[in-house]
Amino acid sequence: MNLALLRHTWRTQRLKLVLVSLALAIWGFVLPVVYGAFGIDFREIFESGIFPEEFASFGGGDVFSLSGSIALGFIHPILIILVSVFAVGFSTSAIAGERQRGTLEVLLARPVSRRAVYATLALSVSGFIAIAIAAFLLGSTLGAGAAGVTDELAVDRLPWLWLNGVLLFGSFAAIGLAASASTDRLAPALGVTLAILVVMYFFDVLGSLWPDAEFLQPLSLFHYLQAKAILNGTAAASNSVPLGSVIVAGVVYALIVFPRRDLAAPS
């Protein structure tokens, strides 16, 4: 790891980090408030049978309980897009973007090994994701307080939920960094990572809404985000294994490929 690069990375990302964290905190605040205000009404509507039973749960989240509403916030496209600013946007541009702009050459002309560059960027993106998820959970906790439903919140399980979220988006960041370390241009790295994320999201949501497509869910990393189960104390620790495995595979791949790559002159 390189401290000068770490400081530079955090300095250049700090405004983005503040804005994303603020937006996530607001988003996290909104859902418990909505649950507190309309949860009972929503439950009655769904129990009346107007909507199919499957529609009562979207990706493992709902609006009939505090844990369900926080889980809904986690799996909602708003959170995914906001966290992907770092998990996909930063991770894919961290190496391929610098390479495309030509600044990677200036960086690698210093006495910094490519592995150190990768490790520093990986640590940075992990930190950004960790802060972003923490901001969402902080907003959720404040929202639960504002809605007067704090007694329904298992505060002691929030660190596990935070870890689960960090592992999920960390796995996408590991894929993004591996793609970034493998190419000379940003577009392929971004395209591949985004495609994986979108397809996995589609698999998970489709599987949660359509029983015949349930078999697709284990193929999606989103399936291993067990927000509601963690808050309810029913999640299995083994759910973290696939997420951790993807992170390890991405890191190992990048640490092998990046130092061995030829970096020809930018065209």
Binding site: H8, E105, V106, A109, R110, P111, A264
Partner: protein, 321 residues
């Protein structure tokens, strides 16, 4: 230190590979021989010019020295350190100015220099002096890089390469975008670095500046070394153009060493002169000459001449150098 840079049979080929998983119809990309069996030796304390047209392999050579590329064959060492195994240590002791340098546009000039020197891990002992000589004021350094002109970017590039007083500076087209006054200031910086015992590896298209600042020059073509000589010796071998206006009979040059291509038209004699001028001067002694011009040899002509010769050799299947 034995030498600043040594390459032995350094070779770099690109392409000719298919991805590990590929459809059967996918042909391997064509093999590009970017550098072929290059052996040079740059002495400590000299300014070494590295010449060649676009695509000759200059950038490939520099990138191999800095560990950006891995050699296909051969070996290279910089400051007696192996370019493959000790690349990080090499970069600690080397300053590098890439051709057409890209900078972090969102930083100010000062912050950029601070960042890059922090990555190097050595104090910027030459920064103030360099900024002063390249007329980069504090006010300029406090502006964002994105607002800089091309010339100012190049000045920042020069400062970042030299601010930590590296033992070896590798400079790729260093005067690109500099006005003539700044070019002159840059040449004096190079002279001072040489006087301080620093080594400069200088890649350029601008032959007049190579002639002005370099001690020795290597010329490459299609990845192969076609010449490696001291500038003075290269120029001495170069044919000079002679023009003389006559008011009487033309002097005879039959058998005069170094004189060729003699033509006389309407009292104007032109010829080429190569090597020692003594026999030529002896031959024209006593001739009725009203005007005489001997154009000095320039590296540009020597370079082009060399290239034409080498091209003919390569086409005839002869060794290029």
């Amino acid at each position: 230190m034995m030498s600043a840079i040594t390459t032995v049979g350094l070779t770099k080929h690109y392409g000719h590979r298919r991805p590990p998983i590929h459809p059967p119809f996918l042909e391997p990309s064509p093999l590009v021989r970017a550098l072929e069996d290059l052996s040079i030796d740059v002495r400590p304390g000299e300014i070494f010019g590295f010449l060649g047209p676009n695509g000759a392999g200059k950038s490939t050579m520099i990138r191999l020295l800095l560990g950006f590329l891995h050699p296909t064959a051969g070996s290279a060492s910089v400051l007696d350190l192996d370019v493959v195994r000790q690349s990080v240590e090499i970069r600690r002791r080397v300053g590098y100015l890439p051709g057409g340098i890209a900078l972090y546009d969102s930083l100010t000039g000062e912050r950029l220099l601070d960042y890059l020197v922090a990555l190097t891990g050595r104090p910027p002992v030459r920064r103030d002096e360099l900024c002063d000589r390249l007329e980069l004021s504090q006010r300029t350094l406090r502006r964002l890089v994105r607002d800089y002109s091309r010339g100012m970017r190049q000045k920042i590039g020069i400062v970042q390469a030299l601010q930590h007083d590296p033992e070896l500076a590798i400079l790729d087209e260093p005067t690109e975008g500099l006005d003539p006054l700044m070019q002159r200031a840059f040449y004096t910086i190079l002279d001072d670095l040489r006087a301080d015992g620093r080594t400069i590896f200088f890649s350029s298209h601008v032959l007049s500046e190579v002639e002005r600042v370099c001690d020795r020059v290597a010329i490459i073509r299609q990845g192969r070394l076609v010449a490696l000589e001291e500038i003075g010796r290269l120029l001495a071998r170069r044919k000079r153009n002679v023009e003389m206006r006559l008011s009487g009979p033309a002097p005879r040059f039959d058998g005069v060493a170094g004189v060729s291509g003699v033509e006389t038209t309407d009292g104007l004699l032109t010829c080429h002169l190569e090597g020692d001028v003594g026999p030529f001067l002896a031959a024209i002694a006593g001739a009725a000459i009203t005007d005489l011009t001997i154009e000095p040899a320039h590296l540009e002509e020597a370079f082009l001449e060399f290239y034409e010769d080498a091209e003919a050799d390569v086409e005839n299947g002869l060794p290029a150098a």
